[in-house]
């Protein structure tokens, strides 16, 4: 019983590491693409997440606004995102 519990805990620890290491950078990459990718391409890019249509529509409503932010400011936002990733213990995946 103790052995099986230990094995389960080790397995969980490995799952935790894997989940954190994968999901966080993907979210950051999506946020970066959200700022810099044009609409038709971004629509294709987020299609793989199989999100509800209303969620996609809402995201593009916000994107219409963020697209009006100057390119220089969007670069600054991307750099800020990079700093957050470094704080999380990841490399800057947004470059």
């Amino acid at each position: 019983m103790r052995l099986s519990l230990s094995v389960l805990l080790v397995t969980l620890a490995l799952c935790c590491c894997e989940a954190s290491e994968i999901v966080c950078p993907f979210l950051a990459i999506d946020m970066s693409s959200f700022l810099f990718t044009n609409d038709p391409l971004y629509k294709l890019q987020i299609a793989k997440y199989q999100a509800p249509p209303e969620a996609v529509e809402a995201k593009f409503e916000v994107k219409q606004c963020t697209d009006e932010i100057s390119f220089e400011n969007r670069v600054l936002i991307k750099k800020t995102l990079g700093k957050i990733l470094l704080k999380c213990g990841f490399a800057d995946f947004t470059n």
Binding site: C15, F26, N38, L41, Q45, Y49, A55, I84, C88
Partner: protein
């Protein structure tokens, strides 16, 4: 000496250990109520913890920043205070304020729908399964090969855009 015959105690040398050290099959498979409950509790706890980990984006700081950006109740001053560690100059502060303003301009309904795309409370947290999806093939390649890709015009697409995929 016992003339080469084994006594009962010699016949089963580990008899005293068999019940505690080598539990019978019935105990392992849960006929014993206490063992069964312990297994169920362990498996249930493990599953809940595993789901909890997968449901979070993997970084509390990033999650907090995303949540603060979308939160209509959070004022601009509070937002900048929350981000002060990452905002080093006035130009960056102005940039993040512009992003925040984009969300403040949206309706509650739009933001509720937007949350479905993000790994934050109120959303459906689709990010927990994102690593199972394969990367889309870049339509740029089809255009280069002389094929048509849907009905939209892809002339403005660049190789840089395609590398993002």
């Amino acid at each position: 000496m016992n003339n080469g015959h084994l006594t009962d105690s010699q016949d089963v040398p580990n008899e005293g250990l068999s019940s505690s050290f080598c539990p019978g099959q019935h105990q392992l498979y849960g006929e014993n109520k206490e063992v069964k409950e312990t297994y169920l509790f362990t498996v249930g706890t493990m599953y809940m913890m595993w789901e909890f980990v997968l449901l979070s984006p993997g970084c509390a700081v990033l999650e907090d920043v995303v949540e603060d950006t979308i939160d209509l109740a959070l004022s601009m001053t509070e937002y900048l205070a929350a981000l002060q560690e990452f905002v080093s100059d006035a130009a960056t502060a102005k940039a993040v304020v512009e992003v925040k303003q984009c969300f403040l301009n949206q309706s509650n309904e739009t933001l509720a729908d937007y949350k479905k795309m993000m790994g934050i409370p109120g959303g459906e947290k689709i990010w927990k399964h994102q690593h199972h999806f394969s990367v889309n093939k870049c339509p740029m390649n089809d255009r280069i090969n002389g094929k048509t890709f849907g009905s939209e015009d892809y002339r403005e697409w660049s190789e840089t855009d395609c590398r993002l995929l």
